[in-house]
Symmetry: C2
Subunit: 230 residues, 2 copies
DNA sequence: CGTGCCATTGAGTCAATTCAACTTAAGTGG
DNA sequence: CCACTTAAGTTGAATTGACTCAATGGCACG
């Protein structure tokens, strides 16, 4: 199928006409890069760093964020196993990437990847698709941040997580990020995220066995919470 | 320099390491597409339409937006002369593109452009850069929508417009979009946009000779309004 | 068994919204 | 060219959704 198996599954609904399903097989690319580990909360690369490497996540989860001078933070993406990060190089990384938990990645030298892309049409297509996918995702994110209510955002976020966990058993969602991370992803405060989760819980739509797990009891109702109510 | 002269100048600060300055010369590409006109408020392409064509704007301005089922709208980008739109095709356009005023564009068939990109490394690089630029812009937009105050957003928007108009005389900004458009771009209401403009005016930072023109009287103070105050 | 981090809940505040009135500018047709 | 109509923009007052501040609960770890 593909040489790189660049996959991003951070999708709400499957991106029309852009279907790179997650392939987590070893990949022939493994030889090209070397495996690196990062402990929880460690920085993989920082905004403004030279974009020497791109990374493919093998296990663990990563947050990609931008920070304002006064500490306000916006998270653009949560990357999960199988995802590629740091592809959208300019000369510097546009985001900071930090490990949400213990993370294993494969690092690919930028120059090599570029050369590979020049020679191999398949690789090129995949890099291009990855970029298009990220743009598509960012544009959807804009609607969320610009026009959705707090409840819609949180519900939508859970639906996203649910979609990405489709391979596992459907209802049990793994939530590797903190409430603060969720808040910074959704443009809310930690308290508001909490309250919305409580609200969904009180409606019987979800349950929260522990802070890193959410169980969806009524997926249809959850999806409905994504849309305007009346 | 470049075969396509794909340029997007929708930048706040120049994107580091991604410097495609606006080149509006005729371009050898003109032969490849045909010129089309659109009147104010007409649709160039709609979200979900087959992505048959991409367009280069010759004159006029275009808004690229997404609409929610209940009418809430989020504008992702305003495209000006020299900008390319509809490149980020999946199979369908992800956005609706509408003319803000009378617009002239050159339409390029998608298949042709793809073939051209396959053959010509320069074209490829430009398409790739354009995509990276759009992603970069969208990610900055996320910070604005997720974490900035109303005043910061409006001030930042004016700075953006100022940067894009750099070729003209610096202080006089052309504002082809309505207040509603600005509101939908910034995730605010029309009233809030108005109030912030009034505030900037009362501070002596800008003047508003007419609704489609804003004069910057104090660029430094405008930039300062972009940042947190205390 | 503290100590610290994260999450939750409550109470009060505030920035931005909604609702409403009004002004200004831009067509349009006689 | 002017009267009429409509669209766009501005301002004020009241409302509200999300935020800030503050207190408390729960769990992990040394």
């Amino acid at each position: 199928m593909s040489a790189l198996a660049l996959s991003t599954r951070q999708t709400n609904l499957p991106p029309p006409g852009l279907s790179h399903a997650a392939e987590r097989r070893p990949s022939m690319l493994a030889a090209l890069g070397n495996t690196v580990h990062f402990a929880r909360n460690n920085t993989i690369f920082g905004e403004g760093d030279d974009a020497e490497y791109s990374y493919r996540i093998l296990c663990g989860a990563v947050r990609l964020s931008k920070m304002m001078s006064d500490g306000r933070r916006q998270i653009a993406e949560f990357a999960l196993p199988g995802d590629f990060i740091g592809i959208n190089w300019l000369d510097e990384h546009a985001m900071t990437a930090e490990a949400l938990n213990d993370v294993t990645v494969v690092a690919y030298a930028r120059g090599r990847l570029e050369r590979l892309g020049d020679e191999n049409r398949d690789v090129r297509t995949e890099l291009f698709d990855k970029l298009r996918h990220d743009l598509w995702a960012a544009q959807n994110h804009l609607v969320i941040l610009g026009r959705q209510s707090a409840l819609e955002r949180v519900a939508g976020f859970l639906v996203q997580l649910m979609e990405r966990n489709k391979d596992r058993d459907g209802a049990r969602i793994d939530v590797p990020m903190t409430r603060q991370d969720i808040a910074d992803y959704l443009g809310l405060t930690i308290e508001t995220v909490c309250r919305m989760l409580t609200k969904l819980k009180s409606y019987g739509i979800i349950a929260i066995p522990d802070r890193h797990t959410i169980t969806v009891r009524n997926a249809a109702a959850l999806r409905r919470s994504t849309e305007p109510e009346e």
